[in-house]
């Protein structure tokens, strides 16, 4: 599981050019990810990490960009 998989998913869903998507590109602010796509993103992340995402994390701050998503959902807790 990696940032690369998240990046590929976002490119596929938003049709943003791969070269325009950096790890710090604001996803919600730039509307690359819309509200109706959030469930799909959450299910995709849950399938990558193999466990559910806590409801408390379903806030815009946790989905700001690829860096934030990877840090919050894919990297093991310290």
């Amino acid at each position: 599981m990696s940032r690369q998989q998240i990046r590929e998913w976002i490119v596929l869903q938003s049709r943003v050019a791969r070269c325009d998507l950096q790890d710090d590109t604001p996803l919600l602010e730039d509307r690359l990810i819309r509200s109706h796509q959030l469930v799909e993103l959450i299910l995709f992340l849950e399938s990558l990490r193999g466990r559910p995402i806590d409801e408390a994390c379903l806030v815009p701050e946790c989905f700001r960009d690829i860096d934030t998503i990877a840090r919050n959902f894919l990297e093991p807790s310290p």
């Binding site: 819309r34 509200s35 109706h36 959030l38 799909e40 399938s47 559910p52 379903l58």
Partner: protein, 285 residues
Amino acid sequence: MTQPAQWLERLCRISAAQAAPDRACAWPQHLGPDDWCMSPELLSAYGTELYEALDERQRRRLSFFEAVNFFSLNIWGERQLIAGIAPRLYARECDAISRYLQHFLAEENRHMALFAEFCGRYAGKVYRQKSWRAPRAHAGGEEEFLFFARVLLFEEIVDRYNVAMAGDSRLPPIVRHINRTHHRDESRHLAFGRRRVVELFERYAPGWSPEALTRVREELEAFLAASWREYYNPEAYADAGVSDAYGFRQRLLADDARQRHQAAFSADSIAYLRKHGILAAEGAR
């Protein structure tokens, strides 16, 4: 206070009469994964090769957990609805409809209690809500319109399922009762919602830019598609014993049979929105 229209008065009278305590229901001691709780034709895998590959016991398990998912979706949908309706009560722009909104709230609350009782009693859980909305700027009246339009689209799908299951003698009486009760109240909510959505669109859309109108239309179409996708819950598939629940979901979503089912169940809602110019005519953009 602005006087409500006659049709709203009528909805209030019916709601008041329906609230009479004749709606007690008998909860059976046990229902579980060995019981059909959702009509087979309404299962999210129905009509696909994946469904054909399931044996009778697996189909029954899927039916039970998809019923729990359906009721869970209703709980979250109605919770959002209640959260949206409450601040509109007696607000100036909702003055004329506030008396009816109070019935609406009471009925939605009763439905949530029924759905939650089923989920808690027989499955020991309600599936988690995963949908939420990222904040964004709106044109004047856009948020108000979208709120009621989303509610309408969500409830119209639900109502089709309720009608089918309320009359399905293969299902336990309690499941039919819940679906029948919900449909009985929702038929008024839908009558209200259809009028409200058209009224708000006619009031606000003339002030929207072409870009805002396009955005509203795209959002409604995207919301409808997203609402359907919530019927395909990998947690329910995993509970039903499906291995690779996420892959199972993705294969179902891509299946033409499922697309046809969704199109058939949404056709009436889409035709209504097109008739009133809310969605663009077919093929037009």
